[in-house]
């Protein structure tokens, strides 16, 4: 299956979605996005941390230090109440947009 570049601005909402399924460290977020998109979406590895920092800065994510699967110190991200709200709004608006685009692209010529 071929992979697609992310549309600008969509990484943040994907991260929120990934984290909403359970707390994750940075690499975990990357794997989770690949997993839930069926490997179809490719995330720039380093760019992930810029997004994580921004979301944390905005108070949408919270973080705490814990231990990773290889027994290393790792920072785990968790959705905050504000993050959950934002995710809901983003998902709704994405659905509206994709429905509209889907509808537009599915249009056929009208019979005269």
């Amino acid at each position: 299956m071929s992979t697609a570049e992310l549309l600008p601005g969509t990484l943040d909402v994907l991260i929120l979605k990934a984290v909403s399924l359970g707390k994750l460290h940075g690499y975990g977020v990357l794997l989770r996005i690949e997993q839930i998109s069926g490997g179809a979406l490719l995330v720039q590895q380093g760019a992930l941390y810029q997004s994580l920092a921004r979301l944390e800065h905005r108070g949408l994510l919270d973080s705490e230090w814990g231990t990773s699967e290889n027994n290393r110190k790792a920072k785990f991200y968790r959705l905050t109440a504000a993050g959950r709200r934002t995710l809901g709004q983003e998902v709704a608006s994405w659905k509206r947009l994709s429905d509209a685009i889907g509808l537009a692209l599915a249009a056929t010529p009208l019979e005269a």
């Binding site: 940075g26 380093g46 941390y49 994580l52 921004r54 944390e56 905005r58 290889n70 290393r72």
Partner: protein
């Protein structure tokens, strides 16, 4: 929304306050990420080394991601403007490498900070005094405010007694009044001392114990108690030679024997600069409400009480009094302030305004000086242009480069601030000494809360000034030098010239020239005015006279004496006559004359008009002249003869006489040189009309000082209608030597007679002249420094601007340009700046000196001004010639080689 805002602020704060931790955390995350990815790749079949390499490559530059993450946290701005120890170290090194700039720039800034901190401190002491008494913020002053008359009602003995009994939120309520009292020690001479009559509770409220003996106690206030006194430290040292057995000694105060019971510590001079405290006896029974003596009331807030509570309680008492005594207390509103509030020299918006105006001046000076330093720093930065371009090419942002220059300016400014503050500490004391006459109440001592020390507030203010100075001197040139760096990077590699002075700098140079010219010239005019004032020759031998003001205790110590104003007046006139007779019979005295104001003392000025109109042009406030009422024998005693007309006859010494003598300056300035004799003058006052006075003669200028030029009039003195009187005594030999004899005569005559301001007439310099002298000294120093600094920086900047064109000049020579053309091209710009600067300077001088009497310069002064302007032009010329000569000497081949 709010949640997000709080989160952002918290995250920002964490980023700023714990920068290292945040970075370390991120690096830790990156490492884990790369390790986990490598482990996955190994599981997919790669060798560990290959996996590690691939994982790192996929991740990209950790430095880059780190910076991106910090920017995402909103820390980008912080990172760019943050400067490190390294910047400061580099800054210090730069200062050492360019010592001339460091010294000139540092001195300029130190000078601006000196003036700034000094002005701020002096104004703060006047506007926000700090009272050196224990818990002084809890000392409160109470008074009745007469809302109908808009003035305080000080006759409040009855209210004092009522408040003392009822107020719970103010303890130790005390009252005082200030008086001058003659103090006579043993059989010595009586001399006036600034005295406070106080209730014993005052010492409890102030919480300052005496150093010797005791303070006043309640018993002392009783009418039948023996008279006692507490003396101040300075009085103890000066008049009792610090005698440790002074307690118990008997002195005479205003003719009454009193026992000294205590000595207060050094620095204690409550309520202002008093040195003697005697009990205040309040007799309420004898007075109706709003009757009796004028007193001032203060106390200390009770433990736990607040100002608000005390105000509420007092206002409640005021309400009660208004209903109990509607006749007298209906319009009285009791008020309560802290002591500091009550002694502010300038209260409310006026004080704040003064502080602000003072600061505007300081800011202007600071901005000017710092722009000047900025100009120098720009010139230096321009010589480092290639370094800056390289740094920029290596990835330094514009902000980083600007911050580096700011750091340099900050190092310079900090050194300057230390020097400036040290100088300010000295300057404030110096200035206060010079202004002693204006700041004291006549005792020659400052109010006890004033001192020459700098307050913490002034240090904070100086820190802000330093930051501002560094911002102007560092950031401005930094922004200028880093503009269009990209373009210049290209051009630099192509070998073209670099940073140039643009329009802003041209304006700065022109302004600089204007101020350099205008400031000292304006000072010159001020100086001339003051010098004229101080050195105007008097037409009589001023060093042969003694001057003194004659005061008298209002109440005679004789039991049962008449206390009416008329009785006092009669007593005063009789004493004056006796003193006059006693003096005239002294062998050392050749003449005695009484006057309202003596030569060189301040004479109040008033607007006058002349019938049929004055001849000379008048300014917007009309013809204002000084005046003095003088004895008919005044002229004889001074030994002066009339210029024309006649002087007063003895019979004209009455309040109803309608004759006047004018001085020479009056003829020149008001009459335009016409003969005034026979014309009539009168004051322009409300209510009109004022009576006309006939001018009967013209006298020479005999030292009328009104702050409004030397023009003045003399009116005949009726002694009974004037208090206090001044006396001029013509003596043989040294007037100072006669002073003790005069005191002895007065003490012998009447102990209630007080000789105030006893000094040789030649030492009488009124406050205006003193202030002028202070102002002249200050402006001379300030302008001399401005002058030197400006000339140095004008030279530096002009020669820099020309030297930037070395290559251009070389090319022109190589291409066969005639030296004359080249000179013209090079000099055009600086000469235009010089011309504009001188023009602006002339305008500035005109504005600064316009409207004063001193505005029109004499030929000699014009010559001096011309010479000064020529000197300035010469400096500019040399600044252009030196680098041009150097440039002309450059071999054309050398100039062309760079292309």
């Amino acid at each position: 929304m709010l949640v997000e805002l709080i989160a952002r602020v918290r995250s920002l704060w964490r980023g700023v306050a714990r920068t290292r931790q945040v970075d370390a955390d991120l690096n830790e995350e990156f490492r884990l990420h790369i390790e986990l990815r490598a482990a996955d790749l190994v599981r997919a079949g790669m060798t560990p080394a290959e996996a590690a390499r691939k994982a790192r490559a996929e991740f990209g530059s950790t430095e880059h991601h780190l910076e991106a993450a910090r920017t995402a946290r909103g820390l980008g701005w912080f990172d760019e403007t943050r400067f490190s120890w390294l910047d400061l170290k580099l800054g210090s090194r730069m200062l050492l490498r360019y010592p001339v700039l460091t010294i000139v720039g540092g001195l300029s800034m130190a000078f601006a900070i000196w003036v700034g901190a000094g002005t701020f401190e002096a104004l703060r002491q006047l506007v926000f005094p700090v009272i050196p008494l224990p818990e002084s913020d809890r000392i409160v002053v109470l008074q009745n405010w007469d809302a109908a008359a808009s003035q305080p009602e000080l006759r409040a003995t009855r209210d004092f007694v009522a408040w003392r009994a009822a107020l719970e939120s103010v303890d130790d309520l005390a009252a005082y009044r200030t008086v001058a009292r003659n103090l006579m020690i043993a059989e010595g001479l009586a001399e006036p001392v600034f005295t406070a009559e106080v209730t014993a509770s005052a010492f409890r409220a102030l919480r300052v114990p005496p150093v010797l003996g005791r303070a006043l106690v309640d018993m002392d206030e009783r009418a039948d108690a023996p008279p006692v006194a507490v003396i101040g430290y300075r009085l103890w040292q000066a008049r009792f030679q610090g005698d440790s057995s002074v307690v118990g000694r008997t002195v005479r105060i205003a003719g009454v024997p009193a026992t000294i019971v205590g000595v207060m510590p050094d620095g204690f001079a409550f309520p202002r600069s008093q040195e003697l405290w005697v009990p205040l006896r309040i007799d309420v029974a004898g007075h109706a409400p709003r009757q009796g003596m004028a007193i001032r009331i203060f106390g200390r807030l009770a433990p736990g009480a607040t100002l608000a509570r005390a105000r509420a309680e007092l206002s409640h008492l005021g309400g009660n009094a208004a209903s109990d005594f509607p006749q007298t207390h209906q319009h009285l509103r009791p008020q309560l302030f802290t002591f500091a509030e009550s002694v502010r020299a300038m209260d409310g918006p006026g004080g704040a305004l003064t502080l602000l105006t003072g600061n505007v001046f300081v800011m202007m000076l600071l901005v000017l000086v710092c722009v000047n330093v900025g100009l120098l720093m720009f010139a230096r930065a321009a010589t480092r242009e290639s370094e800056i371009i390289v740094r920029s090419a290596l990835g330094a942002s514009r902000r980083r480069i600007v911050m580096q220059l700011f750091a340099e300016a900050l190092v310079l400014g900090t050194v300057a601030a230390v020097v400036g503050l040290a100088a300010a500490g000295w300057g404030v004391r110096w200035g206060m000494d010079l202004m002693r006459a204006e700041l004291t109440d006549g005792s020659g001592n400052f109010a006890f809360w004033m001192d020459g020390r700098l307050s913490p507030l002034t240090f904070v203010y100086t820190a802000l000034l330093t930051l501002l100075a560094a911002a102007i001197a560092g950031i401005l040139p930094g922004l200028k030098i880093t503009r269009n760096l990209g373009d210049r990077l290209k051009r630099a590699s192509a070998g073209a010239g670099g940073a140039q002075f643009g329009g802003v700098w041209t304006a700065v140079i022109v302004l600089q020239l204007a101020v350099t010219m205008g400031f000292p010239v304006a000072t010159f005019f001020v100086r001339r005015g003051a010098v004229q004032l101080a050195t105007q020759p008097l037409p009589f031998p001023v060093d042969q006279y003694l001057s003194v003001r004659l005061d008298m205790e209002p109440l005679s110590p004789e039991p049962g004496a008449d206390t009416s104003a008329a009785a006092f007046r009669a007593r005063y006139v009789a004493a004056a006559r006796t003193l006059e007779a006693r003096l005239e019979s002294e062998p050392g005295v050749t003449g005695v004359a009484f006057a309202q104001h003596l030569p060189q003392q301040y004479h109040p000025n008033n607007q006058v008009e002349v019938d049929e109109g004055a001849v000379a042009a008048q300014d917007e406030r009309g013809h204002r002249v000084g005046s003095s009422r003088v004895d008919p024998k005044y002229l004889d005693v001074l030994g002066v003869s009339m210029l024309s007309g006649r002087w007063f006859s003895t019979s004209e010494a009455s309040p109803d006489a309608r004759v006047a003598v004018v001085n020479k300056a009056f003829v020149d300035r008001v009459m335009g040189g016409r003969n005034p004799i026979g014309r009539r003058i009168r004051y322009v006052w409300d209510p009109e009309p004022q009576p006309w006075f006939e001018i009967i003669g013209v006298a020479p200028d005999m030292g009328i000082r009104s702050g409004w030029g030397p023009a003045g009039i003399y009116l005949p003195l009726a002694r009974a209608s004037m208090y206090p009187l001044n006396v001029a005594i013509h003596v043989r030999g040294d007037p100072q030597a006669f002073a003790p004899r005069l005191r002895a005569i007065a003490t012998d005559m009447d102990e209630t007679l007080r000789l105030t301001n006893l000094m040789p007439l030649k030492d009488v310099v009124n406050g205006e002249v003193r202030f002028q002298a202070f102002w002249v000294r200050l402006t001379t120093i300030v302008s001399a420094m401005v002058l030197v600094l400006s000339l140095v920086s004008i030279y530096a900047v002009m020669s820099f601007a020309v030297s930037r064109r070395t290559r251009e000049i070389g090319v022109r020579v190589a291409l066969g340009g005639s030296p004359w053309h080249i000179l013209r091209a090079v000099f055009r710009q600086p000469m235009r700046q010089l011309g504009l600067g001188l023009l602006a300077g002339t305008l500035l001088v005109w504005v600064l000196t316009g409207g004063t009497d001193n505005g029109v310069p004499t030929p000699t002064e014009l010559l001096t001004l011309g010479a000064y302007t020529a000197l300035m032009a010469l400096v500019c010329l040399i600044a252009c010639v030196v680098p041009t000569r150097r440039a002309l000497a450059v071999q054309p081949t050398e100039a062309l080689r760079d292309y």
